[in-house]
């Protein structure tokens, strides 16, 4: 199982990762990760073939509408993500650092995004996305988190074993 963190990966973090059950710990700098914004900006991120992961598309979403939840992702964006090989990421640190109604809102939006991604067939990634060693969580716990937001058993395992595909670099 693989974990993605925001901080630099040193020996302490590698040993903590092994203790928590991860075979490898990757930092953001090793991948091309875009954090979620509004739907228009998410569309640009997902249309760019060079991006690897769109992390938490529900982060800066606008207020919910009367008839549906605004989660930063829809079926059009999910299909674009499949064609451009961009995975949708769900980082646990955003749930951890927030409390109360805001946490409930984020979990609900994540649930909706998982439902959309599993229907369309978009790749999903679940990670701790930790800012420091204290925010890292175990692999079994992240599996439980993946199941809680709506993934089934096989989807949750593949979300924790996500590997980056080698992308073609266009020389100008």
């Amino acid at each position: 199982m693989i974990d993605i963190v925001r901080c630099e990966v040193d020996d302490e973090i590698k040993s903590q990762g092994k203790k928590l059950g991860f075979s490898k710990v990757i930092t953001c700098g090793d991948l091309k990760i875009c954090e979620g914004e509004t739907e228009d900006k998410n569309r640009n991120h997902v249309s760019n073939k060079q991006n690897d992961v769109l992390m938490n598309p529900e982060l800066k979403s606008l207020k919910d509408k009367v008839h549906y939840r605004v989660s930063g992702l829809n079926q059009v964006l999910a299909k674009l993500a499949v064609t451009n090989d961009v995975a949708i990421g769900f980082g646990f640190s955003f749930v951890l650092n927030v409390a109360g109604v805001e946490r409930a809102r984020i979990l609900g939006r994540m649930r909706q995004n998982v439902k959309i991604c599993s229907k369309i067939g978009t790749k999903m990634v679940v990670c701790s996305y930790a800012n420091n060693i204290k925010e890292m969580r175990g692999s079994k716990d992240l599996l439980a988190f993946a199941r809680l937001i709506g993934m089934d058993g096989t989807e949750a395992k593949s979300a924790l074993n996500w590997k980056r595909n080698q992308k073609k670099v266009r020389l100008i």
């Binding site: 646990f92 951890l96 409390a99 969580r137 175990g138 079994k140 716990d141 439980a144 988190f145 809680l148």
Partner: protein, 117 residues
């Protein structure tokens, strides 16, 4: 005189289906706290995460433990919910801490074997 009637023990098929969850607490090289402090904090955070109705459905019970390790009894359908609820704990008192699940068992004897390892 009225006779005292003992309540019959509930049939196994009617009982709650439970799982025993073994957890461990990492204090990041700080002083380990008392089990009582951990129980108060964990109960409060689980209640906040699951809500009153969810906490009731999960049937959370702290079976035994110390400041570093312990066993919690949970309903079978709510194991993932309680695991994530425990993951959301990042401070106990003034100390940084992280709770992680070591194992889950349907049997308390096997859970105790994991606990004593």
């Amino acid at each position: 005189m009225q006779k005292k009637t003992k309540l019959r023990v509930l049939r196994p098929t009617l009982r709650e289906k439970k799982r025993y969850l073994v957890y461990s607490v990492d204090y990041f090289e700080n002083k380990t706290l008392d089990y009582r402090d951990f129980k108060i904090k964990a109960n409060h955070d689980l209640l906040k995460f699951l809500g009153e109705y969810g906490y009731n459905n999960a049937g959370v019970l702290f079976v035994k433990g110390s400041g570093k390790k312990g066993i919690i009894r949970v309903d079978r359908k709510y194991v993932d919910h309680v695991k994530v609820g425990l993951m959301c704990i990042n401070k106990i008192g003034k100390q940084n801490a992280a709770v992680s699940c070591v194992g889950v068992s349907g049997n308390i004897n096997k859970a105790e074997q994991v606990y004593t390892c």
